[in-house]
């Protein structure tokens, strides 16, 4: 007896040790920060308690039998079977319980799907493996990429607090406003998910889905792509910052101004030439951020899936084709158009980089103006 209780205790302490270590991991669904997410949580708990109650009843009867109705106790088996009364009862009872469950579920579902009368609309576009946000009521749009450094993923650096749940540019939304999301994709199916809002919507290429949320508290909310979307499906997080309306207005005005200024600067750059050094430094940065996921940091690609750029005929010889594929992508493959994602100088830099890195040594320098020329063709 003493030994069993000792065993029980050590098991318990072991489990506790586990749970304290992972103190950050909640053991239940989040209640979230919206009215809807709270309703969803309540539904989840309600159905959970119903299951527990049924489970206790059914398993209770079963274990009672196991303990008392065993041959080793010398019992004689009864021979009864079939009872229409009992069978009707255990068919009707679940139906009633389920109807009780279906009513609140229906109400919540209808509320969740009502995207009318939104205050602000954001177009969310998934692509391998990043999110793009476009504010339909402002001149602001940008990509949002995983910000966790590669070295952390490869276990060369210790992992940060928000490992794999951090992005370079989060989505920003105002609190207290109904925000409508239009969700779509440029390539495969992705799914945009923020648990704290109870919003998970698939991003289907060629179609637009709708969802909405109204966040009451300012804060940072994290989620992930939920639909398998290829190699780096695990590496496309979603981060949303909810700001008070005044902070949001300030932020969006500033963002719009910055983006307008960047466009102007881009035009000015057309007249200038960057040095090889500048091009290569910028090019490497862009390459690692946008291309290395597929073509690999060493330019070798993944045979059969993503072509190598090191020693590739296109990167060594055909410059116009090289610029064209980076600008416009290639339909029917995962090589996407970078036209909208990168600035002219960034495209110029990354093409220069690919033509000179990894012993490609063509010596070609590509300038923003060359890209603009290719674009206008």
């Amino acid at each position: 007896m003493a030994r069993t209780s000792y065993l029980c205790w050590s098991l318990l302490t072991f489990l506790l040790a586990f749970s304290t270590q992972s103190a950050e991991m909640p053991l239940n669904m989040t209640q979230g920060v919206t009215e809807i997410s709270q309703q969803v949580y309540d539904l989840h708990m309600k159905i959970f308690y119903i299951c527990c109650a049924i489970g206790i009843a059914v398993f209770g009867v079963m274990f009672w039998s196991i303990i008392h109705h065993r041959k080793s106790k010398g019992v004689e088996p009864a021979q009864f079977h079939e009872s229409t009364k009992v069978e009707l009862l255990w068919t009707a009872m679940p139906v009633i319980i389920l109807i009780m469950m279906a009513i609140p579920a229906t109400q919540t579902l209808i509320a969740m799907e009502d995207t009318s009368e939104a205050d602000i609309t954001v177009l969310i576009t998934g692509s391998q493996w990043k999110w793009h946000y476009k504010y339909m009521d402002h001149k602001v749009e940008y990509f949002s990429l995983l910000a966790t450094p590669r070295q952390q993923i490869d276990n060369k650096l210790s992992k940060g607090e928000n490992y794999l749940l951090e992005v370079d540019r989060p989505l920003v939304i105002p609190t207290g406003k109904k925000v409508r999301f239009l969700v779509t994709s440029d390539d495969v199916i992705h799914s945009w998910w923020v648990p704290a809002f109870a919003v998970k919507k698939d991003a289907n290429p060629g179609f637009i889905n709708e969802a909405w949320t109204r966040v009451d508290h300012p804060g940072i909310y994290r989620g992930q792509c939920a639909e398998l979307c290829g190699k780096d499906h695990g590496f496309m997080p979603v981060v949303v910052i909810a700001k008070e309306q005044s902070d949001f207005d300030q932020w969006i005005a500033q963002e719009a101004a910055t983006q307008a200024a960047a466009k102007e600067a881009e035009l000015k750059l057309l007249a200038m030439n960057m040095s090889k050094e500048e091009l290569m430094t910028l090019g490497e940065k862009v390459y690692m951020g946008y291309c290395a996921a597929c073509h690999q940091p060493n330019g070798m690609g993944i045979p059969g899936v993503f072509p190598a750029l090191k020693g590739s005929k296109m990167a060594l010889e055909d410059l116009p084709a090289h610029i064209d594929i980076v600008l416009n992508g290639k339909t029917g493959t995962s090589m996407q158009a970078f036209d909208k994602q990168l600035t002219l100088s960034e495209i110029a830099a990354v093409v220069t980089y690919e033509r000179n890195a990894w012993d490609n040594n063509t010596g070609d320098l590509v300038q923003a103006a060359d890209i603009a020329k290719a674009q206008s063709k």
Binding site: I36, P77, H81, E82, K200, K201, C225, L228, G230
Partner: protein, 530 residues
């Protein structure tokens, strides 16, 4: 009845006609017992190959960060693990059991279409060799999940897709042939007096399963063909740019996929309904209601497919329809569980290994059913969908459900197949090791999923680390525990205490009236059923 029993000359010849020797016996066999054995051994092999892939997955997920495999290979492992376990392990195991047992249970000499039976087994090794070989192609094998959603599996996949499609076609043909054989056998070869409502439940559940197979395997064949033509022949079924719709893929796939999950669980219900009465020494509580419940589950299974797709963006009315239908399935499923419990009530139970696995099945399958009911609640499904909560759910119904029932069946009928009792102590060890490890493996997945970990990712946020380590430990332990089973089966084939014909004190049914081991040809004259 068949000519075998009416033509005395043919009959006499048959008596002296044992199995051929060596490899030829297995290659050319048209004997239902041989083919059943082949299916079962093949499924065991696939169980270990698919299991090895699960071990790779769990090893990678043991710690955060990428350490053992790259994400592309990780995706190939999740994909092929799923395909192998569904089409290579669970389905062939049930077909093997059907082959061995249905003729013996209905008093038939063999399956109705023995040559087709041989063919339907022997194409399987080709199907799976093709699938496994595709892993060695440039760029690797299929990496789009066993659900192969378009356009990930069309435009964005590599050329292994062609091999994948071809192998799924072969698996489908094999399943359809197996199903036709089951239906024809049950409809034509029942012994005189064996009316439909006297058939053992295992026969009934397989009868219904076979209809499900015939209904949906062609749908699977259709959808893989559409993937093939989209990828290689310029069609645009699933490509919006050409007027298609990627969500159409999911509708077709799940129209196959949902009945498919019942294909993998209805025969399990039949097995449990055979074993529980035997070891309770009491007849099944409601035979007729079990038959009706099975039929209604089968019918409802055609009306719930879109509950796998709530987040794809459907009209509210459709979401409501699929939510209600899904919830409704809980009713006949509940009837089954209540029936088993009522069968045990005031019985005289003993707890040999088949019964232990059956009891574990009832509890753990019901837990899987509960999480299924939770998943049916559409608003909550938005949170659960594509997380580890779903992974926990379907492993409870498929591993502690389908696989445990197969284990229970193997222990229950092994003495009849081999003529020897299995080693009870070893069997109990296998059971307890499996029971504990399988729960360490799958139970914490509920929590990880609720906390927000998506499925099919090779790396995860730090908060999930401790639970994933625990899950992996459970996984390795479960994998190792299955080696005990192999040892036990080998031991039982080689020898052991001689089994009586009756084997189990409380067992009822025709298979227990013939010798142990069952003779190569049984019921060459049909038995009389009172």
């Amino acid at each position: 009845m068949s000519t075998v029993t009416t033509d005395p000359h043919a009959h006499a010849e048959h008596e002296h006609h044992g199995p051929a020797k060596g490899l030829k016996r297995w290659l050319y066999t048209t004997n239902h017992k041989d083919i059943g054995t082949l299916y079962l051994l093949f499924s065991l092999l696939m169980f270990f190959i698919g299991g090895a892939m699960a071990m790779v997955i769990r090893a990678e997920l043991f710690q955060p960060g990428l350490q053992i495999v790259d994400p592309n290979f990780f995706n190939q492992m999740t994909t092929v693990h799923g395909l192998i376990m569904v089409f290579g392990a669970v389905m062939p195991a049930f077909t093997g059991l059907a082959n061995w047992l249905i003729p013996m249970m209905i008093g038939a000499p063999d399956m109705a279409l023995p040559r087709m039976n041989n063919w339907s087994f022997w194409i399987l090794p080709f199907a799976f060799s093709i699938l496994l070989a595709s892993l060695f192609m440039e760029g690797g094998g299929p990496s789009f999940g066993w659900t192969f959603y378009a356009p990930l599996s069309t435009t964005y996949s590599n050329d292994s897709t062609a091999l994948f499609v071809f192998s799924v076609h072969i698996m489908g043909i094999s399943s359809i042939m197996g199903a036709i054989n089951v239906i024809v056998t049950i409809m034509n070869l029942r012994a005189p007096g064996m009316t439909y409502m006297k058939m053992p439940l295992f026969v009934w559940t397989w009868f219904i399963t076979a209809y499900l197979l015939i209904a949906v395997m062609p749908v699977l064949a259709g959808v893989v063909t559409m993937v093939l033509t989209d990828k290689y022949f310029g069609t645009s079924f699933f490509d919006a740019a050409g007027g298609g719709d990627p969500v159409l893929f999911q509708h077709i796939f799940w129209f196959f996929g949902h009945p498919e999950v019942y294909i993998m669980i209805l025969p399990a219900f039949g097995i449990i309904s055979s074993i529980v009465p035997t070891f309770s020494r009491k007849p099944l509580f409601g035979y007729a209601s079990m038959v009706y419940a099975t039929s209604s589950i089968a019918l409802l299974s055609f009306l719930v497919w879109a509950h796998h797709m709530f987040t794809t963006g459907m009209p509210v009315a459709a979401e409501l329809f699929f939510m209600y239908c899904t919830m409704l399935i809980a009713v006949p499923t509940g009837v089954k569980v209540f029936n088993w419990v009522a069968t045990m009530w005031r019985g005289a139970m003993t707890f040999e290994v088949p019964m232990m696995f059956s009891l574990a099945f009832i509890v753990l399958f019901t837990i899987g059913g509960f999480s299924g009911l939770m998943l049916a609640i559409t608003p909550a499904d938005f949170q659960y969908h594509d997380t580890y909560f779903v992974v926990a759910h379907f492993h409870y119904v498929l591993v502690t459900g389908a696989v445990f029932s197969i284990m229970a069946a193997a222990y229950y009928w092994l003495p009849k197949w081999t003529g020897h009792m299995y080693d009870e102590t070893l069997g109990q060890w296998h059971f307890w090791c499996s029971l504990i490890s399988v729960n360490v493996l799958f139970f914490p997945m509920h929590f990880v999923g609720l906390a927000g970990m998506p499925r099919r990712i090779p790396d995860y946020a730090l908060q999930f680390a401790d639970f994933n380590a625990l899950i992996s430990i459970g996984g390795f332990a479960f994998g190792l525990s299955q080696l005990l089973f192999v040892w036990l089966v080998v031991k039982c084939i080689k020898g052991g205490e001689k089994a009586t014909d009756q084997v189990w004190e409380g067992a009822e049914g025709l298979e227990w009236t013939i010798a142990s081991p069952a003779p190569y040809h049984s019921f060459t004259t049909p038995p009389e059923i009172k």
